[in-house]
């Protein structure tokens, strides 16, 4: 057995919501029996983005806000890999917002976990795009990732979990990764992950979360209905959690399927001159 990089101890504060995600990712990967060498985790910048350091995994630490672009690049280059991108709410919804929106549209079969703590923890507690009005002088209304996600008409898997409920989180992450591995497209899971130091919301969120699957009429294949449910529960001061969108058709709609499909793709294809010589000669002969 070759010795590879060993996980290091988390840098997180005791009680951090991100521990829940770390445990759930481990359990989901084990449950799906994904070989370690086929797992790639692209981390963002911030406390949550360091998660790859604490796992036995192919970890790549991206630039702030750019983890989705890198994760899509990994997946399109080698669709055989299972690719998870993980970062925080500042990383994804502020500096990375452009890539966030486009990730739904691109629909590459990768999982994006946003650990939302409604603050910039690593830089010591500034307001983030999801902060409530009044938090650290914040006057802007919080960004609602789930409503945004639901507004983009693409066959994505969309869910929200809560670090206070690790069991449901593991089940949802496992479903999301399975969704990816079936080549069905982009999976977005926002985890409500309290920052015990700068925004300890465990108690508040435990009171406010509402499992949408308990709502009468719940149908995650019906985008319109789920948008209404999420909007109404939010307006009622509750925080909807659970699976918000699960495409009706189990089609292989992932971007990598459209671009690579059953072919080998950029990494696995043979690029040697010898085996491509005839095709290259033909290509160059076309010049006049």
């Amino acid at each position: 057995m070759v010795q590879s990089a060993k996980p290091v101890s988390p840098i997180w504060c005791p009680g951090c919501g991100d521990f829940g995600v770390l445990a759930a990712v481990k359990r989901a990967a084990a449950e799906l029996k994904i070989p370690t060498h086929e797992l790639v985790l692209v981390g963002g910048i911030g406390c949550s983005g360091s998660i790859h350091n604490f796992l036995e995994i192919n970890g790549i630490h991206a630039l702030h806000g750019r983890l989705l672009a890198q994760a899509v690049g990994v997946k399109l280059a080698n669709p055989g890999l299972t690719v998870i991108a993980a970062g925080g709410d500042g990383d994804g919804y502020a500096i990375g917002m452009g890539h966030f929106i486009h990730a739904f549209k691109k629909n590459a079969s990768i999982l994006y976990i946003v650990m939302n703590n409604e603050t910039y923890g690593l830089t010591k507690g500034q307001a983030s795009p999801t902060s409530q009005i009044g938090f650290e002088g914040n006057v802007e209304p919080p960004f609602h990732s789930i409503l945004t996600a639901l507004s983009i008409p693409a066959p994505n898997f969309i869910a929200r979990t809560f670090s206070g409920d690790p069991k449901t989180m593991t089940a949802i992450l496992a479903e999301a990764i399975r969704f990816n591995r079936e080549g069905r497209g982009f999976a977005f899971v926002e985890d409500l992950s309290p920052c015990v130091t700068y925004n300890d919301t465990y108690k508040l969120w435990r009171e406010k979360v509402l499992d949408v699957s308990k709502v009468p009429d719940y149908d995650p294949t019906d985008r319109k209905k789920m948008f209404r449910i999420c909007l109404e529960t939010t307006e009622q001061g509750r925080i909807p959690i659970g699976v918000m969108h699960r495409p009706k058709e189990a089609g292989r709609d992932g971007l990598e399927t459209k671009l690579v499909g059953e072919r080998k793709g950029p990494v696995r294809t043979d690029i040697s001159l010898a085996s491509n010589l005839e095709a290259y000669q033909k290509l160059l002969a076309g010049l006049s």
């Binding site: 192919n58 991206a62 806000g65 690049g73 006049s288």
Partner: protein, 597 residues
């Protein structure tokens, strides 16, 4: 717009000598075609380029368009020569004008013997040596649309220049065969309309004749196309980019070429995404590239530094245009060099290599892919608008010269023999052996944070020093691996030129002009700009009394780098600079050489 009736308008209004005369033979001619954007000036230039190439001539075409889809003055020029050329000719032999603005703009550059063919549909010119034909009206009647006026103008030109009729037609067939049917038929008719009008005009038929040449095994291509082909042959299989003039064609060619080779091309949402997508794909093990121009390069700067520190190989083609900000998107400049040499915050290695011809573009793109993987360093392929978009004849690209070197990439078999897999292992040459994710039995941590050999984040000062040296010293250790400079001219010449990229064509032509005046000069064409090739510049600068560094920028960016690297040659270095958006014409360089009385 008034459209004169074809019947009442004289078919030709020619002024100038009318008595029959022997054609004037041209062995190096320039045709300029001007009009409004949308008039089809580029099509005429394309047709002429194809014709001249068929005659075995060397061809160089350039375009002067505005950053808009239609309207505004646009012109194109075609140069055809018996001898190799890679620059715009300073004077124009024939001007084709679709409006009076084109006449006004072009006449200043007209040779004494120059002749103007213009579309007299909307204006009349009293200039001597000109002939007006109402092309738009002539084609508008029989073909239903005035847009074929450009092909009619090509027909008139073919008569003026004494073209072979069959070759003139076959160029039309070649150009429009893909669109086929009606388009081809109407263009052939427009050609005949233009030809017949010109044949009846006094002083026009066979006014000139063009020599034929022996450059038959040449192709007509652009730097952008050559880069795209070099990428494919170099094993590039993942490309992401964002549309930007003058780089876009690289992406467009690859969209055509790459899918057949199992490659992927993505148009990203912005340059930040493009650079990070290629970083992700390279990390996964693909050979990658992105292409951009100034504004996009600014956005990509963040990613390039990340790739250098995380030691992920990438190639970035920078098709320079006039900057800063949006600048002049369709105009030529070489002003990104200082930015690239100092690219980004912090310190990291980078190789900047600069091709000067389509063949160079092809070969150095293959080299760039090899260098990036062998040294795990970002490689910038530095191009300029003229090189990217101007069409020129070129030798066919030689596959036998190409080779692929993936450096210390670990195969699954090599991995199995390892005791431990450290992705940033310290080695003699600073390059660590890497296995792409998915290789059975191993995994790794890759990061843009400072890290130890395992890829774990580290703030240890001794480790920081080791890792900085590992990365930075690659620029020294790779020196003999980087594309060498080229030397032109006699070694004992005491006047030197230094240049790179698109200025090479004009410099070589200026040397010929100087040689004809009895002034020997030599030229060092740098193909690696950074790290500055001191080992090549030192003997060159020792050999000359004065060296003119020829660049398209205001501050003399390469001259500054050379001075900084070889300060003891400070007194010998002079700059010849041009930053008006146009490329050098050879006489402009000659005029700057003070030693020539």
């Amino acid at each position: 717009m008034t459209t004169p009736a074809a019947r009442t308008t004289p078919i030709a209004e020619a002024t100038g000598p009318t008595e029959p005369r022997a054609p004037m033979e041209l062995s190096d001619l320039s045709v300029m075609i001007g009009g409004q954007g949308g008039d089809g000036t580029l099509t005429v230039s394309d047709l002429l380029g194809r014709y001249f190439r068929k005659q075995g001539l060397y061809v160089y075409t350039s375009r002067n368009v505005l950053s808009r889809i239609r309207g505004g003055h646009a012109d194109a020029s075609v140069r055809a020569s018996h001898d190799p050329v890679a620059a715009v000719k300073s004077q124009v032999d024939v001007l084709v004008a679709f409006d009076n603005e084109a006449v006004e703009m072009g006449r200043a550059e007209l040779e004494n013997h120059g002749f103007i063919i213009y579309d007299s549909t909307t204006f009349h010119s009293d200039l001597p040596n000109s002939a007006g034909f109402p092309f738009a009206t002539l084609v508008g009647g029989p073909l239903g649309q005035p847009i074929f006026k450009n092909t009619a103008a090509y027909g008139a030109l073919s008569v003026l220049l004494g073209f072979d009729v069959e070759s003139t037609r076959s160029v039309i067939q070649e150009r429009f065969k893909r669109r086929g049917g009606e388009a081809l038929e109407k263009n052939l008719k427009a050609l005949e309309i233009g030809r017949h009008a010109a044949l009846e005009a006094a002083g026009v038929p066979n006014r000139f004749s063009v020599v034929s040449g022996d450059a038959h095994d040449q192709i007509l291509t652009t730097g952008n196309q050559a880069v795209a082909l070099g990428f494919v042959v170099g094993g590039g299989r993942f490309f992401a980019g964002y549309p930007i003039t003058p780089a876009t064609e690289i992406m467009e060619y690859l969209q055509r070429y790459l899918p057949a080779f199992d490659g992927v091309v993505r148009q990203a949402e912005d340059e930040l995404a493009a650079i990070n997508m290629v970083i992700g794909a390279s990390y996964a093990g693909a050979r990658v590239m992105t292409s951009t121009s100034g504004p996009g390069l600014s956005l990509m700067t963040e990613g390039i530094g990340h790739a250098a520190t995380a030691e992920i190989p990438i190639v970035v083609a920078d098709c320079q245009r006039v900057g800063p900000s949006t600048g002049q998107p369709t105009r030529n400049e070489q002003s990104d060099l200082s930015h690239l040499a100092n690219l980004g915050h912090g310190e990291y290695p980078r190789f900047i290599i600069a091709p000067s011809t389509p063949v160079d573009c092809f070969e150095l793109t293959v080299d760039a892919l090899n260098l990036a993987e062998r040294w795990r360093v970002p490689v910038i392929l530095l191009l300029d608008q003229a090189l990217c978009q101007n069409t020129s004849t070129s030798a066919r690209f030689d596959l036998s010269k190409a080779h692929l070197d993936r450096g210390k990439r670990l195969t699954p078999e090599a991995v199995a023999a390892l005791q431990q897999y450290k992705v940033y292992e310290l080695t003699e040459d600073g390059v660590s052996a890497v296995a792409p994710p998915g290789t059975p039995g191993v995994w790794s941590e890759v990061t843009g944070n400072e890290h130890d050999e395992w890829g774990h984040v580290s703030v240890n000062p001794a480790n920081r020093v080791r890792m900085m040296k590992k990365r930075m010293e690659k620029m020294v250790k790779a020196r003999n691996d980087l594309p060498p400079s080229r030397l032109f001219g006699p070694p004992d010449a005491k006047i030197g030129f230094i240049g790179f990229g698109g200025t090479s064509g004009p410099i070589v032509e200026a040397m010929q002009l100087l040689h004809a005046r009895g002034v020997p000069t030599r030229y060092l064409q740098a193909r690696t700009l950074y790290p500055v090739p001191a080992h090549e510049l030192e003997p060159f600068l020792q050999s000359v009394d004065v060296a003119y560094v020829v660049e398209h920028n205001y501050t003399g960016q390469f001259a500054r780098l050379v001075r900084e690297t070889l300060p003891w040659h400070h007194a010998k270095l002079r700059s010849i600079l041009k930053y008006d958006g146009y490329t050098f014409r050879a006489p402009q360089i000659v005029a700057e050489v003070k030693e020539v009385a």
